[in-house]
Assembly symmetry: C2
Homo-oligomer: 729 residues x 2
């Protein structure tokens, strides 16, 4: 669904609208909000992985001059925003303080006395599900799932099985079978901006909250539930968000800020530290996977069987096995998915949730099969991957084309490698979501265009919407502004998540612009005494086709429209849902392994992705490079570490390593453009696929380099050395 | 154009939505804006009424630690935002300073050395137009208007004559002729909130300004012209406005804040004092009037002749005579209108601009005629006032009805008065403006409704829009919020001025709500399997008519709509213009005059107004009482006083007296409701008419009390004593 002729704004490498403000420090982040008479809030948190709360004494804290309020679960008995009788992970919120100064608030936090009875803490999912394990959350309901000996597992919160075909028969037909276990720890979104929220209560009891995140309406709903107010009594205004990657999808300290504001009658800003951010947000979940995969001699996959146990943290979330299948056609399947409660924060979404973890298991197994059968790892993927027509939504050979083009760029099979060097390939599959969303377009007398949307911009969305509106209205993109509405000013828009923002809000922007364009053409037709069908909108003018001198400037039309019958030029589009399509990412990593130290040097990474249409190639490349970098961090460096009491050992950026410029080569991108039907100008969502295959590609490259299979993440030197020691010789 | 059946929200005494925040100090006013890294701006102003600037030395100011910038006209040669070679009134801006602290900024202002050559200052319009007068603004163009001796007037900037019929013949037919001169000084809107503006420049050069006022788009246009940026490069966000009354219709310190922000790259807030506000904003203009009015024996007005000379300040604005005619039918007219430049601030709009001043002359003359002819002052007004059908827009006997009902409430002619007590009546006429404006309506899952409009709320507009939306959607008004959009988020909306806000934006709100209602009904029809025409929207539900159990909650519909084909419930209305109608205000004042001291005690004031329909009677009464109070201040207390060098003698609220609670009796309101055709639910604009007749009514009451005609405002004890001394015995 393109436009006639050549695109003038869409498809261009337009710099992010908010880029200059971000890099010059002018952007307003959540912690930049300053309100008259504002108090500062700080949180008291559990120092223990698991404990009973016997007593909380806040008298000393309250007595500290400058302290305005100290709130605990007892003060808000109808809200579940503080631990009450039990803390179930280190960092869990126990109390909040509001004071006239942040230092006083911190001092007051230290003055709150909590009497704990320490309980055993569980941090490993397999240990937590052991029939003899203690409870991670006292008295919490569990699923009735039994171990092979018939004993009931403990702390299991979810259990499901995917079954297709006949798994016994499948493996019986296999010429090669591989089976492996994988261990993956929690890993964090590690956005640059730690969380902060500011709340203000109106005299009418309505609460306004400024916070960062991926969706104003999602925060409003969550906050309404948390503090027991109807949604209409809450206004959420989202600031610039300094990274989220799924991590700021829900509440962090919004409810605590709101409650302090409601109790004190003053605006309150709650800011948390990086340590608090590690300990009490929603990291990507870890998991244990056992995966068995069988193939025929020619590489055709025939059976897959296994179990994934998700570390559900204290909320016991997760449990799905379905991502273990990937983009491959496998006739016989039996996959168990489980989630287990542990004494860790409740995990949440991290960019393509569940996909990087499952890709490590799936793509490693596939690599092992290829090696076992003597088939090229690229070929086995092409052979088994979904093809055009395999599903109604597979409109092109997106996976195969992406595999081939990425392999070509990486010179797969042709590159001359030195000793201890190796190449690995892996595939990620995804399908972006869509809507609900909206866009509103207005034109001013200078021909500038103001766009408003409820869709939060986390990765350049507003720039892309600006390009689309510029395209449709024939104005330079510099004349378009895009503003984020809040819950009081725009209709419900969903989270900017699921790779759907540009896909959906881009469509809304296009349609809203077209409505405005139609108004401009109608008005121009009157002024130029021509039929609208004889008019063309180009170069900030409406021209009579074939008579370029016979024209009128858009700004002039917009100015005239204000006092015309139908009023100012505007366009509106409210979108609920449009069809979506699968999309694929392929990473090919080249590594060199130092067999003595176990250090893995990433020499090269080629990241291919099928994007439909790159609405802004620079932003698409940035997404691909950013996601691949996170994937490398996930694969080689990152992971929460805990002591036996459930205390995180590395809740800071010194001990929790993430990739720096020195760790990552220039990631070469391969952007495959073969448009899908309903995406704007053929585009698909691009946000999540890039993070999926990198870790798996590195694991396969390490194997290619030194013949050792690393199955425990992150693939630190210790793990590599250990794998080398254990490799069958 | 009402709705079927009884109104449930419209016409009710709903408290102002922003009232609680205002009275508890929680509202965010312009000076409450706080931005990270913000600097504080202060203005250096002319201490002289008129002077040449020989030299400005800002070195000492710049050298003061903490000073970031000092800007003068020389630094911004393409902008007319500072005096360059000449200051033409005291308080005119000469330089602006930005510093890290407001005290440092003030110290720096004091360190700027300006070398002035003092010139003669003109503060009286008659003196300023004298053929021998100096120039108020050196070299400024003037109109070629001559005095009776054929000498060219000086400093005259506007001259126009209204002529109808034959004035000579008219007066020849008159049985009584009165002629009088009136003097009226500048008077100030005296809003509670002095001006402040904050500006921030984005890294892309776009400028955002937070300021108070009556219209975001008006500020944007004015600012774009002042600082030479296209409108699309400016965003104006309006804060709560603490009174304006026309005074904040244009720029005050927005341009200075913007320029400091652009030069320093930091946010800058400029705040001014009450003194600066008096000396350099746009007060209501003073004037000199000579008015001659003739009537037949029966009171029929037959001729009016005269001249009004407006004191145009240094901008020489104004000049119209047309308001001297008023709502009366007079066949023979000759009225000269002039404006004269003086060395005072340029006057601007003050609630019903020009009307209170001209009413004093017109209504005093009418009173004198009534007394001369022995006719009741009420009767002479009824006799000569416009009646139903006299003009196409006179749909009812609005003036006569308002006169009669006000007189009845005041017990005109029936009240027993003591010695030195008197009653006076006066009439004001007006016609509200309309549009452009807009309204956007959205409903959330809890059935709450969010309204957005570009129309600034200065007097309860948003509350009235909320009532209208509640009415149309069948929800309690407490579930409606109304939010002001800014120049980046809504289409162009005009100033909330000309009594048009509720008239126009109320209509937009009604139509937008109806669009949303239609969507709700369509969706409900699907869900309830009924025809939309069989449905009624009531009590937060859509019901099948006659089957109240067969219903669905609005919130549920709104929730379902988000993922329905057409998406979230919304309604939009963009309005350019609708027809408007005349409206009238009548004041009857009862005073007691102390003939020894000249003090006038206002014993009673009955304020009647024809409002069409009171959308919110409490707010309408508040408007009437507030306007009448200002009118009393104008009549009895207020006025700029100057020394011979053009320096204001009373630029503070101690010396510039405005009415306090002790000065004003409970003003009794008479709300006349006789709907006009196109107003929302029959309403007319109500903001401006209340200020018109009060001063004139008091003048007439003084005459009734002690037989002395005060013609120089304000009618202070000195003026009353002087009038008593001069009264013909």
């Amino acid at each position: 669904m393109g436009t006639k002729g050549e695109l003038k704004a869409v498809g261009k490498r337009t710099a992010r609208f908010n880029g200059p403000d971000i890099v010059t420090g002018r952007a307003t982040y959540a912690d930049d909000i300053q309100l008259t008479g504002m108090l500062y809030g700080r949180i008291l948190r559990s120092p223990h992985g698991h404990a009973r709360i016997r007593k909380i004494d806040k008298r000393k804290a309250l007595a500290l001059p400058g302290v305005v309020d100290v709130v605990t679960a007892q003060d808000v008995p109808d809200m579940a925003i503080f631990a009450k009788d039990e803390v179930c992970h280190q960092g869990q919120k126990v109390a909040a303080v509001a004071a006239v100064d942040p230092n006083i608030a911190e001092d007051a936090v230290a003055l709150i006395r909590v009497d704990y009875e320490i309980l055993p803490a569980l941090t490993e999912p397999l240990a937590a599900m052991d029939p003899g394990a203690p409870e991670a959350v006292l008295g919490a309901p569990i699923k009735n799932v039994k171990d092979p000996k018939g004993r009931k597992y403990r702390n299991v919160t979810a259990y499901d099985v995917i079954e297709e075909g006949d798994i016994e028969k499948g493996f019986a037909q296999a010429d090669a079978v591989v089976e492996q276990e994988y261990h993956i720890p929690f890993f964090h979104q590690t956005y640059m901006e730690p969380n902060a929220s500011t709340a203000k209560m109106g005299a009418d009891g309505r609460v306004t909250v400024w916070t960062a995140g991926q969706g104003t309406f999602g925060v409003r709903t969550a906050l309404a539930n948390a503090i027991n107010l109807p949604e209409g009594r809450i206004r959420v205004i989202m600031t610039e968000t300094g990274g989220s990657f799924g991590g700021k999808n829900g509440l962090v300290v919004e409810a605590q800020a709101a409650v302090l504001a409601m109790r004190t009658g003053k605006p309150v800003k709650v800011t948390i530290s990086r340590e608090e951010d590690f300990q009490d947000t929603r990291p990507g979940p870890g998991c244990w996977v056992r995966l068995k995969t069988g193939a025929r001699k020619d590489g055709t996959l025939i059976a897959v069987e296994g179990r994934i146990v998700w570390d559900g943290g204290y909320t016991g979330s997760g449990g799905s096995a379905n991502r273990l299948l990937g983009p491959y056609k496998i006739p016989n399947v039996r996959l168990e998915g489980m989630a287990v409660r542990t004494n860790k924060p409740g995990p949440g979404a991290y960019r393509a949730p569940g996909a990087p973890q499952t890709a490590v298991a799936r793509e490693s197994n596939l690599d092992m099969l290829a090696h076992a059968l003597g088939i090229d790892p690229l070929d086995i993927r092409i052979k088994n991957g979904v093809r055009k027509g395999d599903r109604p939504t597979m409109q092109h050979d997106w996976l195969k084309d992406t595999l081939l083009l990425t392999a070509q760029t990486a010179r797969w099979g042709k590159k001359r490698l030195k000793k201890n060097q190796g190449m690995g390939i892996a595939v990620g599959d995804w399908q972006n979501a869509s809507g609900p969303t909206n866009a509103f377009v207005t034109m001013a007398g200078d021909g500038s265009v103001a766009v408003v949307t409820g869709q939060v911009d986390i990765t350049g969305l507003h720039t892309v919407m600006g390009q689309i509106v510029a395209e449709e209205l024939g104005v330079p993109v510099e004349k378009v502004t895009v503003t984020l509405g809040d819950t009081d000013t725009v209709p419900n828009a969903s989270l900017s998540a699921g790779s759907k923002a540009a896909y959906s809000a881009g469509t809304a922007a296009r349609e809203a612009a077209r409505e405005a364009r139609d108004r401009l053409l109608m008005l121009a037709a009157e002024k130029l005494e021509a039929s609208p069908s004889d008019l063309v909108l180009t170069n900030q003018q409406v021209q009579v086709i074939g008579s370029p001198g016979h024209s009128i400037a858009l700004g002039e039309l917009a100015e005239a429209a204000v006092s015309s019958e139908e009023g100012a030029i505007s366009g509106r589009w409210i979108l609920s849902k449009i069809p979506t399509y699968p999309s694929f990412s392929v990473n090919i990593a080249t590594v060199e392994v130092d067999p003595e130290t176990g250090h893995v040097y990433l020499l090269d990474l080629v990241a291919g992705q099928d994007v439909g249409k790159a609405l802004n190639p620079m932003l698409v490349e940035g997404q691909i490079q950013g996601g691949a970098t996170q994937s490398i961090g996930f694969g080689l460096m990152e992971g929460f570490r805990y002591d036996e009491k459930g205390r995180m050992l590395n809740p800071n950026l010194l001990d929790y390593a993430i990739p720096t410029a020195l760790d990552v080569p220039e990631i070469r991108t391969v952007v495959v453009e073969d448009g899908c039907e309903h995406g704007p100008y053929g585009a698909k969502g691009v946000g999540e696929p890039p993070i999926i295959p990198g870790g798996a590609a590195v694991a396969n490259a390490i194997f290619d380099a030194v013949g050792a299979r690393v199955t425990q993440l992150p693939m630190t030197p210790e793990q590599v050395v250990s794998a080398l020691a254990n490799k069958p010789s």
